[in-house]
Structure formats: structure tokens, C-alpha cells
Amino acid sequence: MKTPFFTTVLAILSKDLQAERRSRDVLSVMGLFALLSVMVFSFALELDRLAREETISGVLWVTLLFASVLGFNRSLALERDQGNFDALLLAPVARSAIFTGKLLGNFLFTLLVGAALLPLMSLLYTVNMLGGWVIATTIVGIFGLSTIGTLLATMTAQTRAREALLPVAMLPVALPFLLTAVNATKGIISALPPAEWRHWIELLGAITALYLALCLLLYGFVVEE
């Protein structure tokens, strides 16, 4: 008898949150990297207001991308290190439920980093990044990165060179997210009319939905030997 999908998802998610609350294994690495990264960019790019508006969205998304790679790697490596992934695979649960549980954990951790980055960057770059549309774009973009990141981190966690392999595998695949999210965020921050950036958000949402469907379908193949 198969354990219900949502029971499995909630069990994995609450286990990840509980473990992270104690160990801070994932959030500490992601948070520290993101903080250092925006600080370095802030000092390196001494820009006027116009140039800041042009570049800040790129800084935000590149920082989020690399921070999330670190987090996904850590999150899945913790499953592999003690053989815990085998325990998940042994249980009578759908592979898509394992994926969704891990995805939600990764999404929440990256979202927390994003939630800290937006006010910090508003302060450092003196550009308002706390508007509703910027926040909405950040949520959708992070969810998209988490879908593909969870799938790829599961694949690379099985290899010895996983720390190096995940960024190499993820950067090309994450490019559609990066392009659409950067363009949407830039348009919003520059106070362009919604007609000039709304399609980027729609495209970001469509790519996220497509990747989510693909990942749900492919995860079973990825985790089987």
C-alpha cells in the first residue's frame, strides 16, 4: 500500500525543517555566501543611480543562483551521506512525493535568503526592491530555480565531484530563469510601464511550470539505479 502523496511531502518537509532548525547546515552556507556576495558587488560597483538600476537585478539573481546551488548541494548531500536517500527509496512512497518534499524545503530555504537579500540590497544600493511585483518575481524565480536545482542536486549528489558538478550542470539549465527574472526585475525597478515587463514574469511563470512538470516526471528515473 502506497503512503498518500501529501503525507509523504509533509513528512519530508517537516523533517528537513526540523533538521535545519538544529543544524543550520543549509541556511548558514547560503546566507553567508549571499551576504558576502552583495557586499562585494556593492563595493566593486560604485555606480550612479541609473547604472545601479540597470545592474542590481543581475546582482540579485546571480547571487540567488549561486547561493541556491550551495544550498541544494548541501541539502541533498545530507540525504546521501548517511544513506538516508535509500531509506526514502525503500519506503512505499511515490518518487514525485520525495521530489516535492525536497523541493519545498529547498524553496523555503532559498526564499528565506531572498527575503533577507531584498531589504539588504535596497539599503546598500539605495534602490527600492521591496515592491509587490519585485517580491512576486523573486518568489516565482526562486521556485523555478528550486525545481531544477532539486532534480540536478539529486543526480550530482550520487557522484564524488558533486560540489563542482552541480554548478556546471545547473548554470546552463537555469539560464531561462536568469534571463526572464533579471529582465522582469530590471523593468520593475526602473519603473517602466507594466506592459514592458509583465511578459517576462509570464514567461518566467510558464518556464517554471514546464520545469516543474518535467522534474516530477523525470525524478523517478533519476533516483533509480
Binding site: 500500500m1 502506497k2 503512503t3 498518500p4 503525507t7 509523504t8 509533509l10 513528512a11 523533517k15 526540523q18 533538521a19 535545519e20 538544529r22 543544524s23 547546515d25 545530507l78 548517511q82 544513506g83 538516508n84 535509500d86 531509506a87 526514502l88 527509496l89 525503500l90 519506503a91 512505499p92 512512497v93 533509480e224 539505479e225
Partner: protein, 239 residues
């Protein structure tokens, strides 16, 4: 799990890792309610066989049926009936002993009250009740092994696959494990257990399977005290 009288049926089972064969054309059956010991030198294929039987690995060729269900194609039907103690403890170090069992119970769909009751009973049986709320990372190897055994028994599986379950256990914990396995057999469970500890083979085991270089070199009953002789006669170290 009532489709066949033999719980495990293995036919012409082979497993290769790349070009290297790990198991070669194994054939055996294990009846319900029996305990069989799996013997062999390091690298003879014991862990590979247990992974294949648990559905964690796919055979290169041949067939495995557990309770009549074909593995790994119909694995979902029998997953809830298999308990595995592997080389690694399959435990989360950032969770307590109780939380590890609780998480495992949720994955197997055991309802909340029943989950708590079974967890408490098993933690008492494996002698970890006093440490139920300690983080697993603070446990010794033997304690992790005991918790791992409790995890494998939590969902009351019909088939127990145990890979070196006595490793890391002291004499007292070994005796405790004997008691647990004996009562599991009395409950009608089937046990396949790999071991290197020939001197303390459990008296409830009635059959031995010896693997040698990936082949089944012996399959049959044994008399008390005969295990070491069987092992030395039929087991060869890998080339």
C-alpha cells in the same frame, strides 16, 4: 503478500557493475517464516544481493520475486513488507532517536498513536528508551546500529534483510538482537541475514547460503557449530 508460499524466489540473477560481474546466475528460494544466513568473503556479493532483493538496485539479468511480486517492476506492492538494515545506518544525525522513528513511521503511513506506541516499544527493546530524545549524532556506532534495527522493524515487515546486523554491537546488544529476531520469526517473519560472525551464529537460523565470487557455492541446512567449516569450504576470496 500471499501470492506464493516461497517469500523470496530468485532465478538466474546476475548483476554487473559496468563490465565487472558482482553476482552470477543465482538461483534460490526462501520459504516464509525461515531464517537464512548469507555468508561469503568481502566482495563476494552479499550486500549487492540484499540491495537487489530490497529493490534498491536493478538486476542486470534474471528474476526476483518477493511474495510473487516481480522486483523491481512491482516493487511498490512489496516495499511496505521489506525491512532493511544496511551497512550505513539510514538515520538522520540532526534528529533524535524518537524523531527518526517517527519520520520513518510517517513514510510507511503508520497512524500517529500507533507510531508512538511502536516507537516506544522498539526503543525499549533495543535499549535506547533513555536516549530517545538525544540527537543521533551523539550515538556510538553500536547505538546507531540498534536504532537502525528498530527502524527496520517499525513497520512490521514480512521480510527482514539484514546486512551485518551484529557489526558494532557488544555482547549484550547482540543477545538483545537475537531476542528481537527470534520473536520476529515467531511472528511469522522471514529473515535473510549476512554475517561474518560465524562463532555466534543465531540458533534460530536453519539454512545457509554461501556466496563465492558472485556465485552461490552452497545452499542448505547446517548443524550447530558447522558454520565456520562450511564457510571455509565453500567461500573463496575475490580475485
Amino acid at each position: 503478500m500471499t501470492r506464493h508460499s516461497a517469500l523470496i524466489e530468485v532465478e538466474q540473477l546476475s548483476k554487473n557493475y559496468g563490465l565487472k560481474p558482482a553476482l552470477k546466475a543465482l538461483d534460490f528460494r526462501l520459504e516464509r517464516g525461515r531464517c537464512a544466513l548469507l555468508l561469503g568473503a568481502n566482495g563476494s556479493g552479499k550486500s549487492t544481493l540484499l540491495r537487489l532483493l530490497s529493490g534498491l538496485s536493478k538486476p542486470t539479468s534474471g528474476a526476483i520475486r518477493i511474495g510473487g511480486w516481480e522486483m523491481p517492476r512491482e516493487a511498490m506492492a512489496v516495499r511496505a513488507q521489506i525491512g532493511l538494515v544496511a551497512h550505513r545506518p539510514l538515520l538522520y544525525e540532526s534528529l533524535t532517536a524518537r524523531e527518526n522513528l517517527d519520520f520513518c513511521g510517517k513514510l510507511y503511513g503508520i497512524p500517529g498513536g500507533e507510531r508512538e506506541r511502536r516507537s516506544e516499544a522498539l526503543l525499549r527493546q533495543v535499549g535506547l528508551w533513555r536516549r530517545a530524545d538525544s540527537l543521533t549524532r551523539s550515538f556510538s556506532r553500536g547505538m546507531k546500529q540498534r536504532l537502525s534495527i528498530a527502524r527496520a522493524l517499525l513497520h512490521q515487515p514480512a521480510l527482514l534483510l539484514l546486512d551485518e546486523p551484529y557489526s558494532g554491537l557488544d555482547q549484550r546488544a547482540g543477545t538483545m538482537l537475537d531476542g528481537l529476531l527470534r520473536s520476529a520469526l515467531e511472528d511469522g517473519r522471514t529473515i535473510l541475514m549476512s554475517t561474518h560472525q560465524l562463532a555466534r551464529s543465531p540458533d534460530f537460523a536453519s539454512r545457509a547460503l554461501v556466496l563465492s565470487r558472485g556465485r552461490l557455492s552452497f545452499d542448505g541446512g547446517f548443524a550447530p557449530g558447522e558454520l565456520a567449516a562450511l564457510y571455509h569450504k565453500y567461500s573463496q576470496p575475490p580475485p
